[in-house]
Symmetry: C2
Subunit: 350 residues, 2 copies
């Protein structure tokens, strides 16, 4: 059996699995993960995985393959996946964490199926109504985390306050910032703005004595402009905000390419500018923010984009290992208990 920090991986999840998974591990071990002690359990089809290892020497020495031929399709419904998914690469990857043989799970597979299976196998943490998906987004001075970005279409105020607590602990664990600013996403910053759910969560967080650095409301523009480190919203709004930001970055990329192709002159100067542009491209590269995290379960599940490449998958592994090395899971139990004790004391019920 592998020793030390172990990452359990759904090797068959993702548009181009298992190639992207094996290449992603190799890329990680040769770049940002160089020198890290992590090892990997790969759940999936041995016949497909083994040939890929030939050109991946770093990976080969640090993995153990657990063969299964069953895989969840990218378009399978969560209910189908739950009924027929037992023994699949995704199921087994989660089960490894449940059984204590791995510290964390990573999958680039179907999000709905991964959430449904994670809830069934790992179960929600005591006191958590529903887990949330937290996504990272770059800003002018570092990353911010937005949650929920799609697990919960309708949320009540108690859920939003739980997301605030989960997101804050996650940010501290991953980015080592002691007092990240926590905010609620809203259509304005005045107290009277927003719908009833947001207003109730705002009041609850304002009254809280838990020591969160809650700064109140932020607007959509603050996601990219660094208005807060932890931005809390329901899964409907969060999903749309994140995809809107991605779409805008993509549009500007298209414009930029067009502008640069305009003339021979600009082609020449673009060549000269390559260094500066590479730096720019790296900053707005969506692969750098790859890796959504399911928060609120008895175990940590990392969801990589299904369409990512080895660089993106490698970034998801980096988040996974950073979290697995932290005390996130232990700390969050105490914080959730403190939150719900406070709920009881002030009679906050949703």
């Amino acid at each position: 059996m592998l020793q030390g920090l172990i990452v359990s991986i759904d090797a068959m999840g993702g548009d181009d699995a298992p190639a992207i998974v094996v290449d992603g591990i190799e890329h990680f071990l040769k770049t940002i993960g160089k020198g890290r002690k992590a090892r990997f359990i790969l759940h999936g089809d041995e016949a497909q995985i083994t040939p890929l290892l030939k050109k991946c020497p770093e990976t080969s020495s640090r993995i153990e393959i657990r063969h299964t031929e069953l895989a969840i399709g990218m378009d399978d419904k969560p209910s189908q996946a739950l009924r027929r998914g037992k023994g699949s690469s995704m199921w087994n990857a989660i089960q490894s964490v449940k059984d204590g043989e791995a510290n964390i799970v990573v999958s680039a597979g179907n999000t709905g199926a991964l959430m449904a299976m994670s809830m069934m196998i790992l179960k929600r943490k005591q006191g958590v109504q529903r887990p949330a998906i937290a996504a990272s987004w770059p800003g002018p001075d570092g990353m911010c985390v937005v949650l929920d970005v799609g697990a919960n279409i309708d949320c009540n105020a108690a859920q939003l306050t739980e997301f605030a607590v989960l997101g804050e602990a996650y940010y501290r664990a991953l980015y080592h910032v002691e007092q990240p600013r926590v905010a609620l996403l809203n259509v304005g910053t005045e107290d009277l703005k927003g719908n009833d759910v947001v207003k109730a969560a705002h009041e609850r967080l304002n009254e809280s004595q838990l020591g969160l650095n809650y700064i109140g409301y932020v607007e959509g523009g603050d996601i990219s402009m660094g208005g807060a480190e932890v931005i809390v919203t329901d899964g409907f709004t969060g999903n749309i905000a994140l995809k809107t930001a991605e779409g805008t970055a993509k549009l500007i990329g298209t414009y930029f390419k067009e502008a640069m192709q305009g003339s021979l002159w600009s082609k020449f100067t673009t060549y000269l500018n390559a260094m500066a542009l590479r730096r720019l491209k790296k900053k707005i590269d969506p692969r750098n923010a790859n890796g959504g995290v399911f928060l609120g379960l008895n175990g940590i599940v990392i969801k990589s984009h299904g369409g990512t490449d080895k660089v993106g998958f490698s970034n998801a592994l980096n988040i996974a290992i950073g979290l697995a090395e932290s005390d996130f899971l232990e700390k969050i139990d105490d914080t959730l208990t403190a939150l719900h004790d406070e709920d009881d004391n002030i009679g906050f019920i949703q």
Copy 2:
């Protein structure tokens, strides 16, 4: 009295009013509005407006000033504005349309106050539950319109279907596209995605025989990537999506500036690249998309960004005149009647 197409303007609305308003008209008449026959009624403080006209010869010959000393503050609450706003520049600007002496109103003032006053003075169109604010956003092949972007925090399905009809007619009138694609903003494109309100509106629009080119759901990324011409959502989500897109564009602008300032080499080549970059900058210039439109009232009200400059205000004037010249207001009456007849026939009640 002025003859022809008349635009009624709240000269005191906006962070830098009335200077930005007068300069905006002059800029419009010298650039995109060259040769247009429009004339302007300026409601505001004559003592502040008159000196500004000295360096604006085009404007001087096409305006009439209606003096008032009362102005609505950018931070006034809508309820305050309604109680104390009678006789203000904003109020009088709207009243000019109500009285039939102007075709359309433009204000860069306080959005909440402008909406409240517009509803009080112009009244909702028959059958419209609440007016919506429609905003334009650039895409790879032209503009798209998103509504509602902030007037209605909570919406029911009947409102979303009304927004679809209003937005479609608006797009046709402004951009002269016969069958713009209409879509609902959602967290995925499958029928079963989304909350109950979105699903009910989707079913209603799918069943409709009104001849809308309804294409179903689009996601956040489609706002910038040209997934539809008319994107319908509630005011909470729409406001956050639009501000998120603006924030992302701003962030990339910051990154771009940084990348370009990195070295002497890049400074030099940036100079050479100036032409291409000017084109790029023009494409992502938020001033080009300035001008939200209040739809669903007996009259058209254009809301310019409060912090815009003369170029942005000039673009708001361009939208105003384009709409005033169209048959939007007449056509929309028929379409709303047809929609509500269909509602009655199929028993659609919200």
